[in-house]
């Protein structure tokens, strides 16, 4: 039941928002909905352990072999929790941004949340595809309707890119459906499939392409910086904190266990692409003057590390990915809030025009520096845990011969991250004041509160990551069982 509520509450809340014309009321309503969702999610993670609460299945499209089935397992728990936590933070931190036709804006935000929840919960391929698009379409409207100057072509590129990849995924899922003995779209039937090596190969690419575009992995990333830059900040937060995780999630849920041999044989290719992406994106990030684009490229680098680890196929690596999915979401949310605050106060995101903010805004400076440390994954921050686990995962990988090379190259990303993040910190906070930053005011109210919440999470999960690791533990064992290809060679 809980699992159904996770999806239904934002969905219904979103539809109702369309009809609330008053600006203040609709904001409150959206916040209320998201808080309720958060409470449900926490309940699902803590005291609901009976299968009746974590599973939901009902017949739907029976003639097509599809059913409306949702499930909350370890992987879903982490991502649903991330989605549920992010939304109130996003809504509170952008409380003062003004939107024309606010009711539509918040309705679309909540509908996106419903789609995201659905994606993370669905255990039926057709249903998964439905939610996949349900998350995409409102996002298209959000970014095109409320974004920056070049929003229309940029968002359109984003939409066409992801849509094309996702219809190819649909073909892949349909093909798998025809291979199942009972003609069913359910995850279990897909997991039970034993496909030949060649078939696995191209099914792998049909599916993986959609997820690679979403993450984005190196050659498919071109939509991302532009979209992040042009979207309204609240939408960018959803995109970067949660939506990119759809790609990582998709690989874990729908690719690795379904086509394990292909994942094994193409693993080196994907890992190489990811590692290239890490270094490439980091180097570009160093060159950026626009703060939003800098974070966008930094996000590509972080996600690249996750996608590389996915194909290392080690327990410690998967735990790292799952923990880091959560942590990355939290951290980047904090960074976007900083960007939003800076842009709102100074009217620019150009790093070269800023400077000397620290003197007049100490609170902002402290919070920003902590988040910057988290972005470089220094010890005691949450990102350190995730990235460290991932590096060890790649290092100890037995499925690739180049594990040491990949690890070394990937670790370069930390150094590069330090370069661009600290440069940004320096340019914004220190140095001489520019004409723009003369009248700097410190942050207060909502934003300060949200940032503190985020920073506390950064530190707490950096020091005590056990709760997150515990959620992932059981799931990762099951996952490794399914994707372990070693036994195939013995036969």
């Amino acid at each position: 039941m809980i699992v159904l509520l996770l999806f239904l509450v934002p969905l219904i809340g979103g539809f109702l928002s369309f009809f609330i014309k008053n600006d203040k009321t609709v904001r409150t309503w959206a916040l209320l909905t998201s808080v309720i969702t958060l409470l449900i999610s926490i309940a699902g993670n803590t005291f609901a352990h009976s299968p009746g609460q974590l599973h939901f299945s009902s017949s739907w499209l029976g003639s097509l072999g599809s059913s409306f089935s949702l499930q909350l397992d370890g992987l879903s728990q982490i991502l649903c929790l991330l989605t549920a936590i992010s939304y109130p933070l996003i809504l509170v931190s952008t409380w003062r941004s003004s939107y024309k036709t606010a009711n539509n804006f918040f309705a679309l935000m909540l509908l996106t949340q419903a789609g995201l929840m659905g994606v993370f919960l669905a255990t039926d391929a057709l249903l998964f595809y439905f939610f996949w698009e349900l998350a995409l379409v409102p996002m298209y409207f959000l970014c095109s309707g409320w974004g920056g100057e070049r929003r229309i072509p940029v968002t359109f590129k984003f939409f066409i890119y992801t849509f094309t990849a996702s219809v190819l995924m649909l073909i892949g899922l349909l093909y798998l459906y025809f291979q199942t003995p009972d003609r069913s779209f359910s995850l279990q039937s897909f997991y039970a499939l034993k496909l030949s090596n060649d078939t696995q190969s191209w099914v792998f690419w049909l599916l993986f392409l959609a997820f690679a575009v979403k993450m984005p992995v190196f050659p498919f990333h071109t939509w991302q910086p532009d979209t992040y830059e042009q979207s309204p900040t609240a939408a960018t937060m959803v995109l970067s904190a949660i939506m990119v995780k759809m790609g990582v999630y998709g690989v874990i849920r729908w690719v690795l266990p379904v086509v394990p041999i292909a994942a094994y044989s193409w693993g080196d290719v994907v890992m190489s692409l990811s590692v290239i992406g890490i270094i490439y994106a980091s180097i570009i990030a160093i060159q950026q003057d626009d703060f939003k684009r800098l974070i966008a490229y930094s996000s590509i680098a972080h996600i690249g590390l996750m996608s590389a680890t996915l194909f290392a196929e080690t327990k410690i690596g998967y735990q790292g990915v799952m923990v880091q999915m959560f942590n990355h979401g939290i951290n980047i949310l904090g960074l976007w809030i900083i960007v939003e605050l800076i842009e709102r106060q100074f009217g620019t995101r150009k790093l070269s025009q800023l400077g000397g903010v620290a003197q007049k805004a100490p609170a902002l400076a402290i919070l920003f520096v902590i988040l910057a440390f988290a972005n470089i994954s220094l010890p005691l921050t949450n990102a350190f845990i995730g990235e460290f686990l991932m590096f060890s995962g790649i290092w100890s990988s037995t499925v690739t011969h180049y594990n040491i090379l990949f690890t070394v190259l990937a670790i370069l990303s930390i150094i590069l991250a330090a370069v661009y993040t600290l440069t940004a910190v320096q340019k914004v906070l220190y140095g001489p004041e520019s004409s723009i930053t003369e009248g700097t005011k410190d942050i207060h109210g909502n934003e300060k509160m949200v940032l503190w919440v985020i920073v506390i999470m950064v530190v707490v999960f950096g020091v005590y990551p056990q709760p997150l690791l515990r959620i992932t533990d059981g799931f990762v064992d099951l996952l490794l069982n399914k994707i372990n290809v070693a036994h195939l060679f013995v036969k």
Binding site: L61, G62, S63, L64, Y129, F130, E133, L134, V137, F141, S144, G145, R151, I152, F156, F159, I160, F163, T164, V167, L168, L170, I171, L174, Y175, Y177, F178
Partner: protein, 454 residues
């Protein structure tokens, strides 16, 4: 049988109504009532109650597939009447005649979707085409309309000639007009030639490439209300006839034509979608979009399975409802170009929202009937063994997103003063109902497809 008699008689009644009733409103109400009666009669027959028992000597068979499509066609026509019957008035003075012609088309649709004999197919297609030639040219003082009508008529009669020739050849090969031939090991050349001719002429009727060249000009030249009808209900009817012909008559020689139909489908998808991208007028875009959607419907003929049958019915409904809805708004617009829709959402938020549902459905986004109908087609195609064709089709569907979303962009994200006139409350609610059906069928397609079996 019920629907055939009802619609034919209604056509005659409407013809006389012009001098029996001198009020345009009463003519319109009469047409609505007659169509409603036809729908109800047809539902009775679907439930097994036939009012007439006429021996057709096996030339017509009203099976569930035919009856269900007749129902879909009639309901879509009813939606068309509700939305656009007032716009028919503006075409010319012969108001009741237009209705009468529409009823004759419906009669032709019934015949061509339930034929069991090639002669009946020919009759059905002709009964359906001739009123269309007239309707296309009904805007008599407009040169473009005249040109479109003449073009349509010439090309149409040419393809009819091909069809007759094909039927004659098939008769020569098999000695019967009845469908359902059985062929020996070696397929006679005459039969193959006849089949090819029929394939060409049917492709012409449903505007599949490379026989589509008449479509944009005719759709563009015809009065927009008429275009709305012929691009939807009539085209879908063509596909039902196409499907029936190839399933029943040529089902046994499928290896001979499967590749050819596959190529026609692929070429249609390609040409329709790529050309639609470059259109500046929404009306022409919809003309090309109808070609590209035809490419998707061709996939049903390619695969000929139960899925394909269900899918084609669903496709006919989804595509017709959405296109009729968009056309109904388009008729009322002052400017038919994409720019003419700039800022539409600001002035008419309700209508814009409904148009978005229709456009999403045409583009095949989930939760709309358009997605599921495309899904059925893809499923049937993959089941039929052609993964490559399915991949090509979805890539083309991704291209189609470009031009459908362009309209959404114009309406929502660009500023301008789109002008629309004559939107009554009833009009809006009817459109909303169509959008509701589109979404409902997108979530529960069984509501429609179950009628095929129960």
């Amino acid at each position: 049988m019920n629907a055939l008699i009802f619609s034919a008689v209604s056509g005659v009644i409407m013809m006389f109504s012009s001098f029996l009733l001198n009020n345009k409103n009463s003519v319109r109400v009469l047409a609505h009532v007659l169509l409603l009666a036809t729908i109800i009669a047809n539902i009775f027959e679907l439930r097994g109650i036939s009012f007439f028992h006429i021996d057709t000597r096996g030339m017509l068979e009203f099976d569930r597939f035919a009856l269900l499509f007749t129902l879909v066609a009639n309901v879509c026509t009813f939606a068309f009447f509700l939305l656009s019957s007032r716009d028919l008035e503006k075409i010319g003075n012969h108001y009741s005649d237009y209705f009468s012609l529409l009823f004759f088309i419906l009669a032709g649709i019934v015949v061509s979707s339930s034929f069991k004999s090639l002669l009946m197919l020919f009759l059905g297609i002709e009964i359906l085409s001739i009123p269309l030639y007239i309707l296309t040219g009904s805007d008599k003082r407009n040169l473009k309309s005249n040109e479109a009508s003449l073009k349509y008529f010439l090309m149409g009669s040419f393809s009819t000639g091909l069809m007759l020739m094909g039927i004659a050849l098939i008769y020569g090969a098999t000695g019967t007009f009845q469908t359902g031939i059985t062929v020996a090991e070696k397929v006679p050349v005459l039969l193959i030639t006849g089949m090819m001719l029929l394939l060409f002429s049917m492709s012409f009727k449903v505007s599949a490439a490379p026989f589509h060249f008449w479509t944009p000009d005719v759709y563009d030249g015809a009065p927009t209300v008429v275009t709305s009808f012929m691009a939807t209900v009539v085209k879908a009817a063509g596909f039902i006839a196409f499907m029936r012909l190839f399933a029943e008559e040529f089902g046994s020689i499928r290896p001979e034509w499967k590749l050819l139909v596959g190529i026609v489908a692929a070429v249609t998808l390609f040409i329709g979608n790529i050309t639609a991208v470059f259109q500046q007028s929404v009306k022409r875009m919809l003309a090309y979009s109808s070609i590209s959607q035809a490419g998707f419907m061709m996939l049903a003929i390619y695969s000929l399975s139960n899925d394909a049958k269900e899918g084609l019915i669903l496709y006919a409904a989804a595509y017709s409802l959405a296109t009729i809805g968009i056309f109904a708004v388009l008729v009322r617009m002052k400017d038919y170009t994409f720019e003419g829709f700039n800022g539409f959402a600001k002035q008419q938020p309700f209508l814009a929202g409904i148009l978005v549902v229709f456009l999403l459905s045409l583009a095949g986004i989930p939760l709309t009937a358009g997605f599921l109908s495309k899904f059925y087609m893809l499923k049937a195609t993959i089941d039929g063994g052609s993964l490559a064709l399915a991949i090509f089709a979805v890539l083309m569907a991704a291209v189609s997103v470009y031009y459908y979303f362009r309209l959404i962009q114009s309406m929502y994200f660009k500023t301008g003063n789109a002008t629309i006139s004559g939107t009554t409350t009833g009009f809006k609610y009817t459109l909303a109902a169509l959008a509701g059906i589109t979404i409902l069928l997108g979530i529960f397609p069984n509501l429609l497809t179950n009628w095929l079996y129960f």
